[in-house]
Symmetry: C2
Subunit: 495 residues, 2 copies
Amino acid sequence: MRIPLDRDSSIPLYKQIEDFLKENILSGILPPDTRLPSSRQLAHDLGVNRITVETAYDELEADGLVYSRRGSGTYVSPSLTLPDKPSVGASMPAEWPVWQYELLPRRDISDQPVFESGIYIAERKDLVSLAGGLPDSRLFPVEDFRKVFRSILRRDGIRAFEYGDGAGYLPLRHTIAQILSSQGIPARPENLLITSGSQQGIALVTQVLTRPGDVVIVEDPTYASALDFFRTYGLKVIGIPVDSRGMAVEQLEEIMRAYHPRMIYTIPNFQNPTGVCMSGQRRRLLVVLSARYNIPILEDDFVGDLRYDGRAQPALKALDADGNVLLIGTFSKMLMPGLRVGYVLAQGPVFQQLMFFKKISDLATSTLTQRALEAYITVGRYQAHLRRACHAYRRRRDALAEALRTYLPEVRFELPQGGIFLWAQLPGGIFSEDLYPLAWQEGVTFAVGSAFSMNKEKSPFMRLTFSQATPAEIDLGIRRLAKAVARLQGMNKKS
Amino acid sequence: MRIPLDRDSSIPLYKQIEDFLKENILSGILPPDTRLPSSRQLAHDLGVNRITVETAYDELEADGLVYSRRGSGTYVSPSLTLPDKPSVGASMPAEWPVWQYELLPRRDISDQPVFESGIYIAERKDLVSLAGGLPDSRLFPVEDFRKVFRSILRRDGIRAFEYGDGAGYLPLRHTIAQILSSQGIPARPENLLITSGSQQGIALVTQVLTRPGDVVIVEDPTYASALDFFRTYGLKVIGIPVDSRGMAVEQLEEIMRAYHPRMIYTIPNFQNPTGVCMSGQRRRLLVVLSARYNIPILEDDFVGDLRYDGRAQPALKALDADGNVLLIGTFSKMLMPGLRVGYVLAQGPVFQQLMFFKKISDLATSTLTQRALEAYITVGRYQAHLRRACHAYRRRRDALAEALRTYLPEVRFELPQGGIFLWAQLPGGIFSEDLYPLAWQEGVTFAVGSAFSMNKEKSPFMRLTFSQATPAEIDLGIRRLAKAVARLQGMNKKS
């Protein structure tokens, strides 16, 4: 235990020790039944006489704050603190330092979206969540993973816990390269950097390619946490509209000439939040424009494998002969979000810089999970899981479309060919931000349209996630949503 | 498999498929014995007639690039590729896009230290490494951890793989709060953010507190990867000299007035690389100045628990009544670097911002390892391991000091009271950067002094890490180092 002592003070040392412990006990920082260090140990730690510590302990015991057990030590008394609701300690200041208040004005993140992420949403019983961006944990192959972890720990021992290669566990990079190659994307292990999920991939690529003040082009709407990163990092964000064939690439050339963007961020497959796929023609045009105007593309393929119907278009990376496209992918959506393993595929000098930014950002990604993931994929379980997930999510997508047609026929949407999101437009005059609190009351959540947009204005669109709920739950959720819509329409008529 | 097809091209589709596969086979991207998709599957994926695919496969087989097994499918031929040394594929451009060459001039990271980290150093048989910054993996409690992982997977099932609380696994935050409180550092779970190692802690705090162009104060010399982050992020770095009582805090006030720094980064315990501890008096002065000039302190306590003798000084955080100090810690040095679990302790509005930056950086830290770590600490194994590690490292420190006095009596150093580093000054006229290649030839490595400094000039200092080698290995390493020093002195005399 380290206790700050002031040897020049007029307050005796025993009293300083007593006061420090008293404050920490009363504030709940030292919880009931915490064993205090022996007087000998604490005296040694603090460089004071043992009697000084014993005097402090005696005073605390006289006040009933601690009790001693013969031959066992000194403990914090159980009755005096409020463990369920700890009071604010005396050491908490009434006002924070000025620099703490200066942080916000220095950054424009005050209006960050609060609805989008399902991660931090409080639990509510019986809630049907169509909000998050995650797969259904009930489908996770947890038993398979348990076996894989067991065998990895047995097989690799201590190596499973050491730092590995700076670019990531080499056998895993080999495996990912094979998967990508089988999808028509030329990939070698030496061009793959393992990241802590694809969110880190976005952060690393952005930091390497751009500097604050630069312009980045995105789809409008787009992935909220990418937008958050771009804006917090200080980029100027220009949004290109999305229609049923993806980003309106035809509008790009003019913007490229006028604003000299440093990066184009796109989600060509089952886009977040709209669920649309970019057409083959636009993909080719985008890659051509990227090369012509010397602007790299960050291609985010977060659920490209989850296709239920229609024909797959080539990845931008597969069309890229020059090294202009950086591809990021993840296993969070397909397997388990808590794994935190994704990758960046990039060729050329940029790769070394990505490695360097990875190193200064968090040194490395957990080797244990990389090893487990590699073993899981290699024994063929990944492909089998993917087939099962596709089958389940396809049924859920169809259930969502069916429920919308039944209970909310005035809502407009295009059926996504894959992925986990459906983008729905509310009937005239209704904004998703106004609907949200009513829907919450009815017991259903979704992501509001403004969370995905640059301007944060109220939006008639909402993003419905169909991966996390069963068909029956989806049916229930949309019935509740219909009630909320009816209530809001009634309120709007009255006012 | 996704193959980019151009339906407007004059090249027939079968030929486009054939060419694509040929290129990928010859370049080694599709390794020998890779099973190609069935012609039916590929035809479906590409939206072409099955005969088109079969024609392409027949052509490839006629060229000997693939072979077919009856009833099993089509495979890449084994003899044609060079799996050990893959050639550069035809798809690799001769020149990279211009933006790739523009990256380096846009950032001043060309002169990043290459010696410091032990992570990426190539393996060399019989090498004695006194270079890295890691604990000895041979001391790791790997068997205990295997048990903990097994029981966590059994106990928590799927929850071990889901995203958890945005600030980190709550029981782990409780446990860390208790450990800190027992060290005299008031800490509550709600003020603790779990990070992917302390490197991420440095990155998050820096991004929240500063913007590119701001001034940051550090110790000179200091932790190389922190310097790398600060400089890459665009901060102006001002170094304050370190003497045997730590950072020369007396020099701070003038610099604070003149340069208005936004952050002070310090390693008060067993500093990296010097191994010194900041005196109690300087700690108090630093906290007072921080409050007076409204400048937050980032306190990096990376091995504060590894004390072998002398008296522990209070943490800066323990002296901080106002919320000016942000403390970061890690379990990488004590337990296993591959765990990637650290924490930031911070009070006030800044905490929400740290949470936000954590989210946009990588969403969350692996929940599985957080759960395992919590279980490991709570059953008391952590304290026991810490005692064993202290005992072992103390013997190694003493062995290093003894070997230096015996084989290199002209080298000057102060015995560190704890930690894992000893900072040694070479005799007159010798620079550690010149010594390094000779030492490598003799079979010993260390970290060169310039890696830890702002100006990167040659330095007479070297950092010797005593945690990763046994006393016998250390003895051998210093004997080799003495040979290298003698060789360098001989060369210097000749020239």
